[in-house]
Amino acid sequence: MNYSATVKGKNFSFGNLRMLMAKASPRRAADELAGLAAESEVERAVAQQLLADAPLRLFIEEPLIAPERDEVSRLILEQQDTAAFVPIAGLTVGGFRDWLLADSSDLSALAPGLMPEMAAAVSKIMRNQDLIAVARRCRVTSRFRNTIGLPGRLSTRLQPNHPTDDPRGIAASILDGLMYGSGDAVIGINPATDNLENVHVLLTLLDEIIRRHEIPTQSCVLSHVTTSIELMRRGAPVDLVFQSIAGTEAANRSFGIDLAILREAKAMAESLNRGGAGNQVMYFETGQGSALSANAHHGVDAQTCEARAYAVAREFSPLLVNTVVGFIGPEYLYDGKQIIRAGLEDHFCGKLLGLPMGCDICYTNHAEADQNDMDNLLTLLGVAGCSYIMGIPGSDDVMLAYQSTSFHDALYLRQLLGLRPAPEFEDWLERMGIFDGGNRLADNRFKAPLLSNFSGLAGLPS
């Protein structure tokens, strides 16, 4: 089907729905690099008008990437629940935006009926405030050793990375994070190397710290899924299985994964029964531009590819999904404005599709962005009801060489918006004397037993 319109005597024509989606996307470097972006602001605005008139059911009838050649497309069509789709089945993309904004109730029942492309399409014609207002009404909770995503709560991933995976350095950053009230989403290390023995040592370190101090949280070493599988075979204490995922089969292949390997890993981790509050064992990371980076986007814009990755994620009922929004660099999201927009889009699409969505609010030093842009996105995502953010000592990841949000930033958001940690973790912080019972750091927290227990860096394998 062709989409065309004439504005002030100039004709604009878009060959298919895929091209229309790309041209209607708010400006970003990734689509410009791929040669998919609108060539003028007027072309973008016209594409948005035409997209608004497209019926939602068109995405079922006219898949953007043919299911015959892509297992993610097949998965999306299999997932789509006709009954849940009924309330919006007769709507256009524009009508869907109005419908979302007119209502004020919980939106979680809608998720199974929605295809990622529908969420992506409506996001393209929504303003930032729309993305915030609607995401706030999508409640998604998930459980392993605690409960993530309850109303009025904000969790944090404690990210204690070290350039050589030195256990003492990692333990020092964990102590710092815990003393600032961080770590209820997960204590998650990006290992400097995927060496099996190295990852095993880190898993054991995290397991001992969590058990010794009875911390109601979970651990993760963010190695490749096949590394986690091998280590589970060797009996390593794996709480969460991590994997980076993308929105096309070919992009996932560039990560060395497919749906089958994720199913295998999930089944193995579930069989360990290490949770307690629940058994949601998967932790996924995504980011706009990953499909383009692997030359595997099939002419689909970066934001729509990203939303398709959420179809992969929800197949595995994850504890956590994290869009690492500014991580790759300026060739995908050029500056603070593009990073902020993408962060809000990803959080909105993920939540609308029923995912426990967090955001690594971040930038690299070759992007036109700074910590002020991160403050803006942090505040906006706090209002939008983001499930969790990162906590890194002083925002500076000394291993991955980028900047994210700090332990301090989480405290700022807690105080500003009254957001509390996961209930089980909040109880623990109060029992430990780290929080004062009023969602604040306790004045005398330096007397907390945790600190003296850690002073020789206890918790380390001796």
Binding site: G169, A172, S173, D176, A192, T193, E331, G394, V398, A401
Partner: protein
């Protein structure tokens, strides 16, 4: 102003124990962060004096082979990663016209996102790799210098040189605590169009805080030998290197 556990910084460069002003970082910590960011920003845009590096190599008895991508300046390098993944016409024609000789591995060095990293650590890492390869009896082809390259340039160069394994050393993006970190990527059967799933990576090579030259070189030699033996690299090639593997080779 700092926290009682500030002394644990002897174990990490991470900004731990900063103390606080309410929920925020204290002023001195904030301003240190701003200065570090400014320095990292400047480091990204610093060009690489490849001539000086080539001379230093030659002085060590290593023959450089100078190649180029179609990228002329740092601005374009940042915006066009696709161009950083291919050779310019002259370099391509030169490699095509060269007599093909069989080597186990080719080595490519590029400034990538940090010219400072390759200037500070490049030559020493190169020497350590040459030494480790020779102890493993791996033959090393010409050492190629290619400014403003991305990792996948190793595919085109490796393919044209007809090597089994292509290795590229690149400057990693500058962070706040280190602007001089090198990464190494290994690809078995380098071909244009390979994806990252077939690469093995070593990162954070920047002694003394990061990985040492010797440790990186030993691991690279181990992975190269494994790749040659098994005919693959990437996610299927797990790093299961025993401690002191390289040292133990001589005792076999």
């Amino acid at each position: 102003m700092t926290d009682p556990w500030f002394a644990l910084r002897r174990f990490t460069q991470a900004r731990i124990g900063q103390g606080r002003a309410g929920c925020a970082t204290p002023t001195s910590a904030l301003l240190e962060f701003q200065l570090a960011h400014a320095m990292a920003r400047d480091a990204v845009h610093q060009p690489w004096c490849v001539g000086g590096f080539a001379e230093a190599m030659a002085a060590k008895g290593l023959q450089p082979l100078k190649l180029a991508t179609p990228i002329a300046d740092r601005e374009r390098y940042l915006q066009r990663p696709d161009l950083g993944r291919c050779l310019d016409q002259a370099s391509r024609e030169y490699l095509q016209s060269r007599p093909v000789k069989a080597y186990d591995a080719a080595l490519i060095i590029s400034n990538g996102l940090s010219s400072a990293a390759v200037d500070k650590h490049g030559l020493a890492l190169l020497e350590a790799i040459a030494d480790a390869y020779s102890r493993c009896r791996l033959s090393l082809g010409p050492v190629c210098l290619a400014p403003n390259a991305r990792v996948a340039l190793a595919d085109e160069i490796g393919e044209l040189l007809n090597v089994c394994v292509s290795v590229i050393i690149v400057g990693e993006r500058p962070g706040l605590s280190a602007a001089d970190s090198l990464g190494v990527y290994l690809t078995y059967a380098p071909r244009i169009g390979n994806t990252d799933a077939v690469r093995n990576c070593l990162s954070n090579i920047r002694p003394p805080e990061g990985l040492s030259y010797q440790a990186a070189a030993a691991k690279l030699a181990y992975l190269t030998r494994q790749a040659l033996q098994r005919g693959l690299s990437g996610v299927a090639l797990k790093d299961d290197m025993p401690d002191n593997w390289l040292e133990s080779l001589g005792q076999d």
